[in-house]
């Protein structure tokens, strides 16, 4: 024991770190910040450490070459002891990190912690969020499978829309004119050296400012931040009602950190690693590329935006959001901190959460994508064929063979790109059906060139039978007078 303390003293005589570490860990924090609401920042840090460790472990086996990366992931999954578990930890760790960083940001926003004098802490935090998302995207690329390959194509297609510089940005991003070996190598450099290096630097800065400026006190309605008086008020608060961070508050951080690590490990054990999906071979086109969960909302947005709005939204949207986040502490650097007195802040968070949640949920089943196999894989349900004529059955056949089913569902099966047709005859008359089939319109292609008159007649005859039993189909009232029918 004495030897250890002697060695410790010997080291500290040279390093002189014990005093600053003691000062930092015992700095007084307002008592009410020792709350379960204040644990997300340290949890993000812990998951980041987990990512560093598991990332280095993966790099022991991973080969950043377009020809070999996929095989090295297979080796990790199947050949190397616990390789699958390290991959799963890293993959689930990234999901948790994005989620925890977002929750941390939401808490900081709702507690008004970005206000004077912690503006720069918030700004550094915004950059940390962007880097975390950069890590998430580049990490998805390193899992060099079909999703990664086509995901890069999507990234390149978005980048190409930048005016003037677009093509140059694409070549810079891909490292050449196509997605190939150079692309993976540069994303490897980004994911393993550039962004983590910046992350470590910015995390240190972020932490340093938390120590120097003190943790944000628990917001009280009516306790208003004023630049002139805040610092004195905060110091009085910590003097009067403060407690040393260690051990007064730190135990909650430690408990939550352990819980988060355990949750990551449990997910890794239970669900296993992510992919890799099919080989990154661009000649295999039977693939439905999808991004990882943190970019699903974007995948949905790209499908639901009107085409004319897409490029401006893609190019201007992120700039507006990032600028808004960066300017936030300057636009409302003073005033109320409590969320009880900031209804717009609460509404903003709720609206953002509901929007992102809805888009993510929609992207889960992608109703805008045609079901590529519905025409051959989902037969017309029998109830739609009861008591039909030969012509109408022929029409049902046309309906399947011409892949109408890929976009239109019948009896809840089939694509959802277009409206379900279970009761289309209630909405459209015979003439309207013919017009819609031949000329298309709305989001529907025109089938005029691909249907013979006989096929059109049969198809429309079938569509006219699609109405619920007790309800009459739509009809053109003028027709019986005009045509004497």
């Amino acid at each position: 024991m004495r030897l250890i303390s002697l060695a410790g003293k010997w080291l500290d005589d040279r390093l002189q770190l014990a005093a600053p570490i003691r000062d930092a860990s015992e700095h007084p924090v307002p008592r009410n910040t020792a709350s379960w609401w204040y644990v997300f920042g340290s949890a993000a840090l812990i998951v980041f450490c987990l990512q560093l460790v598991t990332g280095i472990l993966l790099a022991l086996t991973y080969v950043p070459s377009a020809g070999e990366a996929w095989n090295s992931l297979q080796a990790l999954n199947h050949d190397i002891t616990f390789g699958w578990f390290i991959r799963a930890l890293h993959g689930w760790g990234s999901n948790f990190m994005v989620a925890i960083v977002l929750i941390h940001m939401m808490q900081v926003f709702l507690f008004g912690a970005y206000k004077f004098p912690r503006e720069l802490t918030w700004i550094v935090g915004v950059f940390l969020l962007l880097m975390t998302l950069g890590m998430a995207f580049s990490g998805q690329v390193l899992r060099f499978d079909q999703d990664a390959y086509w995901g890069l194509g999507i990234g390149a297609s978005i980048a190409s829309r930048v005016p003037i510089a677009g093509p140059a940005i694409v070549k810079l991003m891909l490292g050449g004119p196509i997605i190939a070996g150079a692309t993976l190598s540069r994303f490897f450099a980004l994911h393993v050296f550039v962004i983590p290096g910046m992350l470590i630097g910015f995390v240190c800065l972020h932490l340093l400012m938390v120590l120097k400026l003190g943790i944000n006190e628990w917001p009280m309605p009516g306790r208003v931040v004023k630049r002139a008086t805040y610092l004195t008020e905060y110091h009085e608060l910590t003097k009067k009602d403060g407690a040393p961070f260690v051990p007064y508050a730190v135990w909650k951080d430690m408990f939550f950190a352990a819980f988060v690590l355990l949750a990551v490990a449990a997910c890794a054990l239970w669900f296993g690693p992510f992919g890799p999906t099919g080989k990154p071979d661009p000649t295999i086109i039977q693939t439905v590329p999808k991004p990882d969960y943190f970019f699903l909302w974007l995948y949905a947005l790209l499908s639901l935006l009107p085409p004319s709005l897409e490029t401006p939204a893609l190019l201007i949207g992120p700039v507006v959001v990032i600028l808004g986040l960066l300017l936030l502490p300057f636009l409302s650097g003073e005033g109320e901190k409590s969320w009880k007195r900031r209804p717009i802040a609460v509404l903003t968070v709720m609206l953002t959460a509901v929007t992102l949640g809805t888009f993510t949920h929609l992207a889960g089943y992608a109703p805008w994508s045609p079901k590529m196999n519905a025409w051959s894989g989902a037969p017309v349900p029998a109830q739609f064929l009861h008591a039909t004529t030969a012509l109408e059955r022929q029409g049902a056949l046309v309906f399947q063979v011409k892949q109408c089913r890929n976009c239109h569902s019948l009896g809840e099966s089939g694509g959802q790109r277009g409206p379900a047709l279970d009761s289309v005859a209630l909405r459209l008359t015979q003439d309207q059906l013919i017009r819609q089939v031949i000329q298309g319109g709305g989001n529907m292609p025109a089938y005029g060139k691909n249907l013979s008159p006989a096929e059109t007649t049969a198809l429309v005859a079938f569509l006219e039978t699609l109405h619920p039993a007790g309800q009459a189909p739509a009809r053109d009232a003028s027709r019986q007078f005009a045509l004497g029918q």
Partner: protein
């Protein structure tokens, strides 16, 4: 007491030292910058756009659209399978062809051809195109990208080497996108 306007010997050396480092930094920045930007500045000089064969014309029946694959003209040793690319070849009649890029004009996902309905459909966001590549529906703002092609001695070749993207570089054949 030191006057503001005088420059001490050490101060001069410090400034000279800074200047020296700035010069060395600037000199090093040139090769570093050119290395970093090489994928842009290399441009067309290296001949990465080149004519690549798709196969004999007889492989492509008239009036039909078939999948073909080609190898990118520029291959690096670590590229693996990524340099093999697919494309859709439509033989209109005789030596008249249309060779469509596999990439959707919306965000580059691989489109699939459905001969029965005469449509190309994209699995990502539901873009659809007619058999001549023109836009039918969905989010794409233009028709499918086309590669320039040549027919020589019964062999069809296309000019390839760059992944088409919907930005300004996208119009491979340099014509206005066909309208739906």
């Amino acid at each position: 007491m030191e006057n503001d306007t005088t420059l001490s010997r050490r101060g001069l050396f410090m400034k000279l030292g800074m200047l020296l480092n700035a010069c060395v930094g600037a000199a090093l920045a040139v090769p570093i910058g050119r290395f970093l930007l090489s994928s842009i500045t290399r441009g067309h000089a290296n001949g990465y756009l080149d004519w690549v064969p798709l196969g004999p014309v007889s492989q492509f029946p008239e009036g039909e659209t078939r999948l073909a694959t080609f190898r990118n003209p520029l291959v690096m040793p670590t590229d693996g399978k990524t340099v093999d690319t697919a494309c859709w070849v439509r033989r209109v009649e005789g030596d008249r062809f249309q060779v469509f890029a596999i990439n959707c004009a919306h965000l580059g996902c691989p489109v699939r051809w459905f001969p029965q309905s005469g449509l190309f459909m994209c699995p990502c966001h539901g873009g659809a195109y007619y058999r001549d590549g023109s836009r039918a529906s969905g989010p794409p703002e233009r028709g499918l990208f086309e590669y320039p092609y040549k027919v020589d001695n019964g062999l069809i070749t296309i000019q390839a080497g760059e992944m088409p993207t919907p930005g300004p570089s996208a119009s491979l054949v340099g014509k206005e996108p066909p309208c739906a």
